[in-house]
Symmetry: C2
Subunit: 294 residues, 2 copies
């Protein structure tokens, strides 16, 4: 099973990366901007968001060809958020996944504009997709704007910054992660199932599934920063403590964090059962998110 999941992840990763290249290579824009956008889009990463989107589509018998623009748009928005997050005025990171960050390779101005361009282009991609109906385009672009905007991811980033100054409760921590990480996962799970044949009731249960999956992702991130293998993670551990970040291990201790993760896993499986998708790759992805070592 683990062997199969790894094959699956590799295949889907290849699919999204080919797809991203298609959207970028024919784009006739100033070369400096294009290079900067492509640099960050091709700087690796596990492509978990598009893979989750594909898996959600397949769970309800859908054809992933309908989801290609949504998956590319989602990965572009994720990439824009990383470029802006890494800027000197934000987290001031020189490296990501072992490679120099965008503003170190290009310059800050180009990095800001490459982020802006990826965000804006993601909406163009969906509205121009010939395989989608107008109704689908409106639903998808509207949801994408909501999950990525001030009520979603950007709102979460502001709260996350504030949490570095003022310690937060477990409830507040969950709220920050729900916005900062969870909202894009909500889009992934929703878009895949919506472009397949999921019912309204199944879509409703999938909201809970995506919510807990986001929390599992984040608690595991926090755990890896304490007990992970630096070689596998691609960066030194202990940076959260150094930066006085609010984390699960800080709030609950490392054992408490692992216990909390198990609670989220149980909740995610419960929601997946309600969504009639316990017997799909989405279930394997819960375990993958929970046990990943990088």
């Amino acid at each position: 099973m683990q062997e199969n999941l790894n094959d699956y992840l590799d295949n889907q990763k290849q699919l999204i990366e080919e797809n991203l290249r298609n959207y970028l290579q024919h784009l006739s824009i100033p070369s400096q901007l294009k290079e900067s956008m492509i640099y960050s889009l091709e700087a690796g990463g596990k492509r978990l968001r598009p893979i989750l989107l594909f898996a959600s589509c397949q769970a309800y018998g859908g054809n992933v060809s309908k989801t290609l623009s949504s998956a590319a748009a989602l990965e572009m928005i994720h990439t824009y958020s990383l470029i802006h997050d890494d800027l000197p005025a934000m987290d001031d990171d020189d490296y990501r996944r072992g490679k120099p960050t965008n503003h170190k390779v290009f310059d800050e101005a180009t990095a800001i504009l490459a982020g802006d361009a990826l965000l804006t282009y993601s909406f163009e991609i969906i509205t121009n997709d010939p395989v989608l109906t107008d109704q689908q385009k409106v639903k998808l672009t509207g949801m994408m704007a909501t999950v990525a905007g001030p009520r979603g991811m950007v709102g979460g980033q502001i709260l996350d910054m504030e949490a570095e100054i003022n310690p937060v409760s477990l409830e507040e921590l969950e709220h920050i992660h729900a916005l900062k990480t969870g909202e894009l996962l909500q889009f992934a799970v929703f878009a895949g199932a919506y472009l397949s044949s999921a019912t309204d009731e199944q879509l409703k249960a999938l909201k809970d599934f995506a919510h807990y999956l986001g929390l599992i992702f984040q608690v595991q991130d926090d755990i890896l920063d304490v007990v992970g293998d630096p070689d596998k993670i691609g960066k030194a551990i202990g940076s959260d403590e150094l930066n006085q970040k609010s984390t699960y291990p800080k709030l609950l201790g490392i054992d408490g964090a692992i216990e909390q993760k198990q609670k989220y896993v149980n909740k995610a499986k419960e929601a997946l059962k309600k969504a009639d998708a316990l017997d799909t790759t989405l279930n394997s992805l819960i375990d993958y998110f929970s046990h990943r070592d990088h």
Copy 2:
């Protein structure tokens, strides 16, 4: 006539400002983010883009109530571009329209995120507008993404930065302005006429009109930076020369620039005649753009 146009501009300005407040005040988001977004949205400005959008709608007998979301979205995108443009890594401006820039009042991280939020929220506003059909929403969000993205405004900003290092020809200068300024004006003129009853042929002629209007706007901007009244402009003159910017007066001399502007005015009027709108406020706006003193 001038008296009437000033009244018209004041009324439309009031309409767009009320409209912007409506979209922001009910938004339930972190307070720091909201304050930063509102600060720049309410920092004044002539609101030329939404006014142009309203005028374009009225020129073909349309009702502006259909254009309110497009006008607000357009002004938000314009505002986001100013916030990011003013950042230390970009133009590094401490003041705009006599007020401290966003990152001076808040901080750089908040300014970056407020820009990101305004850009993203603008798409949400159009897709959520109950008075538009799905077809109209797709057309408008798709065009907005194109004019604001890497093939439009953001592409123009990269070229503009490059032009500060390498001198450009008149043709290249026109291309930069067409992207950096003209594309958002294209959206304004198109959206208004499209949501009214303009024919495809009229829409086609309006493309030329918007193109030349953008160039008139820019050449007048350059002229004001040489011979304008600092009290009326709200900033010192001569900053373009100081920053070694490529401008019309630098390329053509001040008389040559004024002559060039007149050529654009003639072209804009010619296009407006083809669009059957020579007898509308759009024509007065050509003169206003051409003779404005701030």
